[in-house]
Amino acid sequence: MLFTTADFVLFMAALLGLFLVFRSTGPRKAFLLIGSYAFYTWNALKDLLTGQTKFAIFGELQNYDLRFALLLALLTYVNFTAAQMIDAREGAAKKRVLTVTCIISIGLLAFFKYAAFIGQNVSGLTSTIGVELAVDSLKKIVLPVGISFFTFHMLSYTIDVYRGKIKATSDWVDFAIFGSFFPQLVAGPILRASTFLPALAKPVKLHFDKEILFLCLRGLFKKMIIADNVSRIVDTVYGNPSQYPSTIIWFAAICYSVQIYCDFSGYSDIAIGLTRVFGIELPLNFDRPYFARNPSDFWARWHISLSTWLRDYLYIPLGGNRNGEFATLRNLMITMLLGGLWHGASWNFVLWGFLHGAILVVHRLYVKFSGRVAAPDQRGAGFWLSWGAMQYMILLTWITFRIGDTDKMLVVLRKFVVFDFNFGLAGMGIGNLAIFQTALLLAGFFAMHFLGFLKRDRWEQILARQSDAIGALVCVIAGLLLYWFWPLGEAPFIYFQF
């Protein structure tokens, strides 16, 4: 189910209605759990209820499949049970349970997400020595929506219990809600049990205030007015890049960087806002990433729940920066390569991870040998120079992230890096792309991003402090704009595919 559909509005209304009728925590948690599973399987359920499909336990997997709920339940059961077993054991026995849990969790993720990719590449390799492998059946494996997210956040719980950071919960309902909590289930932010489970242990109360509303509106605004409207240029230009000069390629690259940020952070804003409705606070997932001045700064601002997950559960266990410079650089690179692969089973994501790894390595070496570390409050030429260099690299890496087709990616990269100074734009059909409207949207976005960077408070906080009259006026305008610019077609969030 998408946040931007009428189905979701009805779903939330029904859930809140039940919460208002049933005031005690037990039934409310039950509704939250059932609601989360209903949210996850909504499209399949709807098709089933309207008679468009029939349920078959052994039938071919569909994009939205009821059986994926069983997978979610299985992972929940495995991690819940494993954590209890870990809590009850000591030494090597604990480690064995953790290892088996990791194998099952990551094995399922690998099967659904990477089997076809691995099969295809192995088959490609063996065919060079004349051995043909039959891997076509692997292509039929369908990726369950959100598997990368819920696998990671459940696994983090089990690892935290193993490390002794948290105690295993004995409340399976709480853990099942943690595993399937609908606001963040399919596209994050990746939850940490250490913050989520204690909040859930308290009585579940409804919260709704201006700040929550403005936060959700901000998310909707980013997604529906900015991301979905600038995507038209990205799709058209990257669909046939050889037709366009560097000017348009650059424009499309900027559009995509704005699109992916507004799409993903918009989702996160809505998810965080909805989570607050149920009295739970999720951490920030984005912090004005396009004001990053170096790669470390960028990863402290972009998809924070993933970068901290990778830091805590991959980079540090690999040794982090504790075993000398070479090992540190190696660990950085491994972390970023796997981080890239986490996004999708495709070489372009590996390349994206590699490039970010390389940028981190180069930056680390630069800092080490030059001894220059940017002061957090630094402004002036140095700030803008490092900012410009970092943004250039971000734009370049987003190209590899967005374009899976190698030939097209190379064309775009060439035109992006080697600027052709061709400003003659006639006859390229760009009149159909609403290029000036998109430029206006981009200008609006950067202005807001910049103002947000200058002010420490976030927009929803600033707006929530205004009088009700001003707040209502802002809401009327927001409603008007959302109605007018709501995309004509359905546009899923980009991170649903991961």
Partner: protein, 335 residues
């Protein structure tokens, strides 16, 4: 939940809803005011209503077609060539497909004697139903398709006519496309020096939008884009296009009137891509009464020289004078 914050939050939520309802309610007024690429549709449909209510002189001849016709046919010059000096209106518009011409035709058929359909042969090979935006612009400008019109479109093109018959709520929702291009339309009006976007496009005589010749370099770049998806080879119209024109001819015949089809001139440079067979095949085709015995066909595919085009597709004023004179002569003599 704290009652005060709840009340405040719900009030704000209600304000969002009010804003959305405002958006819905204002949409027809916004649609009528904001500049779009389909502004001429508004002018043409208003003219249709005036003709139907006898507030505008009914035409003896209506000319239909796309921007080639807008730039290439001056209705007053056509009239000058005919001894009876009939009233002729040029109802062409940018991107007007044959199906869109059919919509105007259905509204005017009872009020006119003859209809001239100027159509580039390439459109007969590709065009289908009007795009969704065009269909929506028709609806938002007051057009309501007759059941007979919908039935004909359905029988000729199969599915697709439903975009003309959606309900009010759905059409208003769909009309938001106009907002997604408003900035570009305004900027283009300021920037495009080769395009006349002012008063002249309101004309029912010679609504030529293109006024300045493009440069050689620009022409070379544009040329291949026009035939990018077509391999060279003979002219091959699709059945639905032939059928809808045939039906127009039959309908006019019932009123004792006639349909005249003119194959619009193609820039000779385009034959470099379309190949030598293309020209000969359009000539042969035009002589076979492809749209029934009542429909006369004039093939002007190779009528103009490359100099008489402003760009790859649109004729210059001199080209327009030649085409208009030839069409006038065609209507006068039947040949």
């Amino acid at each position: 939940m704290d009652a005060k914050t709840w009340k405040s939050g719900v009030t704000m939520g209600g304000a969002v809803l009010v804003g959305s309802l405002f958006g819905f309610a204002l949409m027809p007024a916004v649609f009528a005011k904001v500049p779009t690429d389909l502004e001429r549709t508004r002018i043409l449909l208003k003219s249709v209503r005036l003709i139907q209510s006898d507030k505008l002189v009914a035409p003896d001849v209506v000319i239909l077609g796309n921007s080639v016709t807008m730039n290439g046919v001056d209705a007053s010059l056509v009239s000058d060539q005919i001894s009876s000096k009939p009233t002729i209106y040029n109802f062409s518009s940018t991107g007007q497909s044959v199906a869109e011409s059919f919509l105007y035709f259905q509204e005017l058929v009872a009020k006119t004697k003859d209809v001239v359909l100027v159509v580039p042969t390439r459109n007969l090979e590709t065009d289908g139903l009007p795009p969704k935006d065009v269909a929506n612009a028709f609806y938002m400008n007051g057009y309501r398709a007759k059941s007979s019109t919908l039935a004909t479109l359905e029988s000729v093109f199969g599915t697709g006519s439903e975009i003309l018959s959606r309900n009010e709520v759905s059409q208003r929702f769909a009309s938001r496309w106009v907002l997604s291009q408003v900035v570009d339309t305004v900027v283009r009006k300021k920037l495009r020096k080769d395009m006349e976007t002012g008063e002249s496009i309101q004309s029912l005589t010679y609504p030529a939008p293109y006024s300045k010749k493009i440069g050689v370099k620009e022409f070379a770049k544009l040329l291949p884009t026009y035939e990018a998806k077509r391999a060279s080879g003979p002219f091959e119209p699709i059945d639905a296009q032939v059928e809808i024109i045939t039906k127009m001819g039959e309908q006019l015949s019932e009123h004792g009137a006639r349909l005249w089809v003119v194959f619009a001139p193609l820039n000779p440079r385009r034959f470099e891509i379309l190949g030598p067979d293309y020209l000969s095949s359009t000539m042969t085709y035009s002589q076979l009464y492809p749209f029934g015995k009542n429909v006369k066909v004039l093939d002007l595919t190779a009528f103009l020289s490359a100099d008489e085009f402003i760009d790859v597709v649109h004729p210059t004023r001199i080209g327009a004078e030649k085409i208009s004179a030839r069409i006038g002569n065609f209507l006068e003599t039947g040949t």
